[in-house]
């Protein structure tokens, strides 16, 4: 795969934890790849898995959903719902032909700036390795 491929990544970040974690990474001057386009959400439980599908439909090569660690949800149970939904979505996506590694679900607290940077680094590298998704899903294949 061409090394100059810069994957398009969408990151859905819970405002109570991982978004703050990303902030912390920034203020602590911890460098990480700029690939993710970050969307702040109120809770990982808010990230309807259809949003992930939509991101892939419109050209994302990878999608991250980051929430609070289980048991630490600001709304008590949002991330438990997310966990179940994504357990299924992961399997479904992989079965429908999108590598499981293109969708990352993980938990990052507000104090884990370093961990956030590591996750982004690792995920970006992984998606880079997998190559672009665009061109496979995006191709218009209508007969005329």
């Amino acid at each position: 795969m061409a090394t100059d491929f810069e994957p398009r990544i969408v990151g859905f970040l819970c405002r109570w934890c991982s978004y703050a974690g990303a902030d912390l990474a920034g203020t602590s001057r911890i460098g990480y790849p700029s690939n993710p386009r970050i969307i702040r959400v109120p809770c990982s439980g808010r990230v309807d898995p259809l949003l992930v599908l939509k991101a892939f439909l419109d050209g994302a090569d990878g999608v991250m959903v980051l929430g609070c660690h289980p048991g630490e949800c600001h709304y008590l149970e949002g991330n438990y719902h997310a966990q179940r939904r994504y357990a299924i979505m992961h399997r479904l996506l992989e079965y429908m032909g999108i590598e499981r590694e293109r969708l990352l679900i993980d938990w990052v607290s507000a104090s884990e700036g370093k961990r956030f940077a590591e996750i982004v680094e690792e995920f970006t590298a992984k998606v880079k390795e997998l190559g672009p998704l665009e061109g496979r899903l995006i191709d218009r294949s209508n007969p005329s």
């Binding site: 218009r140 209508n142 007969p143 005329s144």
Partner: protein
């Protein structure tokens, strides 16, 4: 009659495929669909009826009708056009007649330029049916399995190859280097159904508009779009923009169906046709009453695709018989 061997025919099609986009019946995972082919070996010659008519090459299921680009402060509009002339090989007489039905609407002023261009740039090579399929009723609507009226060139399977009949100038223009041999006799007549389906006269329809019949027929309708999408004459479409990149937009036109629940729903939620009875009734009235009144031809060619595919056995032939006796 003039006859070409199948080998000569295939070689000729291969030559045509170099100059034209050749669209032909193709076996796609067990379904016959009209698709662009690179050469004649991809063509399915032996089939009764394609799953979809070649309508999709004149009114594509989705097409860009306008490319909208943001240029600085301004906006630039581009109208896409077809690059190559096309040949559709193997169109059945009923599907060709369906194009005549669509012509009545799309080529009436103001002319639909996208449809018109596709018609203009396409030559139709018809393939006569040997016999009518179980669900076919083209002969009840003035058609025939070997009707050559709506194609440019008509082929009929005969012993040793295909009888070739040049119908129009367009047909004449492409037949040039197809080796033909004069053979005694004429192509065999196709096998047709003895019994015809009664097609109610125009005046018969209005009096039944409020009949209970439609509600009972619609009880089992699933409100899917199947019958309208497989129909060679249904032409409803939707138009909507979709962003194709950060500063480019495509205005798309796509198939739509009068059976879909939200077909008539206006912004704000009001739906003038909220029941599936109203929507299903509209389909039949459109085909046999509104369309002929507005544009001339009946909007049904008797291809039978809706009968074959309707999951709940809403059978247009049964409906026509019922309306004739209501």
């Amino acid at each position: 009659m003039k006859v070409s061997t199948k080998d000569d025919l295939m070689a000729w099609l291969d030559r045509l495929a170099e100059r034209y986009t050749l669209i032909a019946p193709k076996d796609v995972e067990g379904h016959i669909l009209y698709r662009p082919v690179a050469g004649s070996e991809e063509i399915a010659f032996d089939f009764t009826k394609a799953a979809l008519s070649p309508k999709e090459h004149f009114l594509p299921s989705t097409q860009v009708i306008l490319s909208i680009e943001r240029k600085g402060e301004g906006i630039e509009l581009k109208e896409p056009s077809l690059e190559r002339e096309r040949i559709i090989f193997g169109i059945r007489p009923c599907d060709a007649k369906a194009l005549r039905v669509l012509d009545a609407l799309f080529l009436e002023e103001p002319i639909d330029p996208y449809y018109a261009e596709r018609r203009e740039k396409t030559t139709l090579i018809g393939l006569a049916c040997r016999e009518m399929g179980d669900e076919c009723f083209c002969t009840s609507l003035g058609g025939a399995p070997d009707d050559a009226s709506d194609v440019d060139l008509m082929l009929t399977e005969v012993e040793g190859g295909y009888a070739v009949q040049v119908v129009t100038e367009k047909g004449k223009a492409i037949v040039g280097d197809l080796p033909l041999k004069e053979v005694e006799g004429s192509p065999p007549k196709p096998i047709v159904h003895e019994e015809k389906v009664p097609i109610p006269e125009l005046d018969a329809w209005p009096q039944h508009f409020n009949d209970e019949y439609w509600a009972r027929l619609a009880d089992r309708c699933l409100s899917c779009r199947l019958c309208t999408y497989v129909c060679p004459t249904c032409r409803c479409f939707d138009v909507r923009d979709y962003p194709s990149s950060d500063d480019a937009i495509e205005r798309l036109r796509a198939w739509d169906s009068c059976l879909a629940e939200g077909y008539r729903r206006i912004a704000g939620g009001y739906n003038p046709r909220p029941t599936k009875m109203q929507r299903l009734r509209n389909r039949f009235y459109c085909k046999f009453y509104y369309y002929p009144k507005d544009f001339g031809p009946v909007a049904c060619v008797g291809c039978g695709r809706c009968i074959i595919n309707c999951p709940v056995n809403i059978d247009i032939v049964e409906v026509l018989r019922d309306v004739a006796t209501l």
